[in-house]
Amino acid sequence: MTVLTGPVDAVATVGRPRMTRWVVRLHRPALLAWAGLFAVVAGLLIALAGPWADAAAEGWRHYDACDFNRPCSYDQTAILRYKSWYNYTTYALNVLPFLVAAWAGAALTGRELESGTARLAWTQGTSPARWLAVRLAVPALALTAGTSLLFWLHHRAWAAGRGRIDTAKTWYDTGTFHANGPTTAALALAGLAAGALAGLLLRRALPALVLGAVFMSGIWGTTQQLLPHLWPAVTRTAAKQQQLDLGAGLGVDHGMLTSTGGHLPLPACDSEAACDAAYAKAAGFYDTYHPYSHYWPLQLTTSALLLAVTGLLALACFRVLRRQVS
């Protein structure tokens, strides 16, 4: 009676574990929420780019033609509709990376480590590295696809108002700048990696939710600081008597020019005499800024920087996981 035999022979038939569909299944609520948000924002942006921008432009045209000595009628509702919904959609696209970071920290990694289902997966034929790779890749794909379409739609909605609607945002308005271009996608991906890292570090859902958002705030703040310096800026100068109007583009720096051509910050002064003395040194003024032509270079360099950060964060995720699991 030799019942105690060797191992099962099935070991030889090796296949790849089918993990992807289960990541999709397990995070179906998040995926549905993303799909819903995408559909709503996309719908609004399409409306903004078309009829709503046209109506608002028409409203402004009437308004500008008004002679204010007589009663004047213009479509204020259309003007406000474009303005409000433009702001809401821009806001949504800017908040998205923070939501992604919080979700990734809480649901994607933190909760699975907290409840032990991560360990379940690792003892069910999925290596920890593969477990993490699929968990990063699937949402990354969904986010890249979704945000790419949304920033394109947003850019259309913005361009539809440009030059036609007086209250349309400038290209360098912080919210508009990100929502209009690929930095939105890059920020969302950075949020994904930052959140996943937070979850792996804390191994608990709720604290990881907070840390993910904190990480994202750090990334966002640093990006804002670095952004103007990621492409060589243009400097304009003006003689002392001339007015140099700021706001021709994304400002980097401005101040006084000395007679030798050196740059000085604008002095603070509170009385005419003091100001006269302070400005006595000025031979002129300078303004360093990015014109609209720098829009794409700035978008691309910022996105590249964010993607590099994303890569480093993802690498950190794998290293942390490796240290925690044998």
Binding site: M1, T2, V3, L4
Partner: protein, 166 residues
């Protein structure tokens, strides 16, 4: 087919219980030559005992020539137990002896104790707990000699039969 019933609190080693119950079934004619014993898998699935315990019991039965293992087929009964005629004669003698004991004033428990004592003395029953004490177990990696613990065997059985199962 025989079904084993394991009593955890009997103080009798599990494999001994299987051996005894198999023999019981052979005596009562529930198992006959050619019959297949349940596989280890079947036994352990029903009883939740360790498979090696079942195999140990079957090896013991095989050693006694009661069953034989046929590779890949199972374990089969080779011969039955207990000749009816010898049984009847012995039983008659035992009945006579028991009557005499009763007449001598022994009560039920006295008779049982006496019988068990003689049984233990005349039959080298397998240790109720474990195989040969002292063997295989080492600390320094060498096999320890069994001799020095051998003499404790008897004491131990006596202790057990006095109703002191460990």
């Amino acid at each position: 087919m025989v079904e084993y019933r394991i009593d955890r609190h009997s103080g009798v080693a599990t494999y001994v219980q299987i051996v005894q119950q198999t023999k019981q079934a052979l005596r009562m004619g529930l198992l006959r030559p050619g019959d297949r014993l349940p596989t280890a898998r079947e036994v352990v699935e029903a009883t939740a005992i360790n498979p090696n315990t079942v195999l140990k019991a079957y090896r013991e039965l095989e050693r006694e020539g009661l069953v034989e293992a046929r590779r890949g087929l199972g374990t089969f009964v080779r011969r039955s137990l207990g000749a009816a005629t010898a049984d009847a004669a012995l039983r008659a003698e035992l009945e006579t002896w028991t009557d005499r004991a009763r007449e001598a004033g022994l009560d039920r428990e006295d008779v049982a104790a006496l019988f068990t004592a003689v049984l233990d003395q005349r039959f080298a029953v397998p240790d109720a707990h474990a195989a040969e004490p002292g063997t295989r177990v080492t600390a320094d990696g060498t096999r320890r000699d069994t001799e020095h613990t051998q003499h404790t065997q008897h004491t131990q059985h006596t202790a057990n039969s006095q109703g002191d199962p460990s």
